[in-house]
Amino acid sequence: MKTILQVAVVAIWACMLSPGRVEAADRINGAGASFPFPVYSAWAYDYNKATGVQVNYQSIGSGGGIRQITERTVHFGASDAPLQPEQIAKGKLLQFPAVIGGVVIVVNIAGLKSGALRLDADTVAKIFLGEIKYWDDGKIKSQNPTLKLSHDQITVVHRSDGSGTTAVFTEYLNGVSPEWKAKVGAGTAVKWPVGIGAKGNEGVANYVQRTANSAGYVEFAYAEQNKLTYTLLKNAAGTFVGPSFDTFEDAAATGTFDPKNHFYLWLLNAPGKNAWPIAGATFILLAREKTDANRKVVAFYDWAFRNGDRKAKELVYVPLPTSLKDRIRAYWKASGIQ
């Protein structure tokens, strides 16, 4: 009896102690946003093959990522929404963008092709406010004189769960519509005036596909993979653009990411002529005082910036433009972690 107990105790201790000790040296733990999870894990897999370092990323949501890094339980956190410079200062954090994504408006109108329907920002806001109720509304018609739109009621589809996608989209509506700002506001979850809620990007994609005359918003990748009908949007320069790698890259290149503000920027209505108006970077958060861990994280992202663009594009993420990568490397150097 006694010996069995002793063996058991020793075994339990061994299990608890050994993996931590051995692996702590070449393992990076991160947690946060679910949107970049596929690309981070693809990068992590390749990085592990190239260098032997393990990057373990858990997609627990941006809110969780921010909390985990603030409490210093992970080596890096990830958030779809940028933290304001004051929050960065308060949490003693560092912040830089890692990859770009964008939100596209998807619709289900019989016979309509992708990129055929043109919408300006105000129209989008009014649709999601429930003020434009029918597809043949005068405001939509005037922007699409050649399209034949029938008198069908619009069903708005939005996210039912809290999400970075919603944060980017509502932030966009906040910026373009004072009425939206007053009535609803921006955040990871908001009180939607109209519409039905669907869980996750895949949920919205599914509902829009299934519901005639619906309109929703999803991450670019989901519109692409599910072959959803997307609309053109009018950008800040006044041109109607469609979602593509080019228009996202133009947005990223003309957006004013400033290292002094820890790159705090909602990449909305970027000034570029071909810029897609609803883009957003997803961010990495580091604990400022943990220099050793930060060096390892930065080495990983530096490697990914160098070798990961192709992988990112395969997964329909937009890599950062070279100029921005250089600014981020300068930021790392200035912070003493590269």
Binding site: M1, D161, G197, K199, G203
Partner: protein
Amino acid sequence: MAVTVKRNPGDVIFLSITAVAACTVIVFIIGILFVLIKESSLAIDKFGVIDFLISTDWDPVKESFGALTSIYGTVVTTALSLVMAIPVALGIAVFVTEVSPNFLKGPIGIAIELLAAIPSIIYGMWGLFTLSPIMGNTIEPFLKSATADIPWVNVLFQGTPMGIDILTASIILSIMIVPFTASIARDAFNLTPDVVKESAYALGATKWEVIKNIVFPYSKLGVFGGILFSLGRALGETMAVAFVLGNKHQIFTSLFDSAATITVTLANEFTEADKDVYLASLFYLALVLFVMSFVFLAAAKFLLLRADRRYAR
């Protein structure tokens, strides 16, 4: 039992291990309650108890939170699912205990247990991809047109049938709780003493009369306890309904409306709750559910104990 037993060391170790194991349950419950109260203290301070329970507002942007819409959604989906599940479950239990030939009892019992073993996420995906299109395209338009002229009833079937609503969620829930209710009801029916049943048959009672006058009265409390257990299960069910309920915080009147239950709200909003009050309010909702479940399950246990005491002499 053990006063006169000679204590050997192995026994002592074994007994203390089981005692520790038993205590962990209590420690966990108290620990969870403590954490829920601690984490929600911010929201408790800000919104109070009564105001939080009766407020219908749920606005993360303005940081104004109330539980009533979630409680309402929870209670309505649970009640509806019970209404649909109980007749089926009792039917199964009666068939298995009283009617069915012996060779069928095994397969049906196994089928019920398999139904209970399906993970709730499977029900959720099945609900989203299979049931909800059927509901939205066929069943709900039919219900809408069939009830259009009946006053009061037509209120329940107003709006556009989307298949993503209270009705679909309640049906999924009812399928999930049928096995629980059925197996507890079966056990309760089996508690009826054979002697009494045989006496009734000897007096010339038909099968229906025996079930109605002997089995049902004998097992009333047990069955009721089983229903309350299923109710507890339906109250806490999350993933099965998270996909088809829409998580919309509103007081609804139509079964075609989207709604939110407490667990659906938690599952949908917990990960991205980025403000302290928001997170605290979600913990507060969890606390409300904890208390609700506790009350229901305590009532169920109490009834089952009374049933046992009365009949299992």
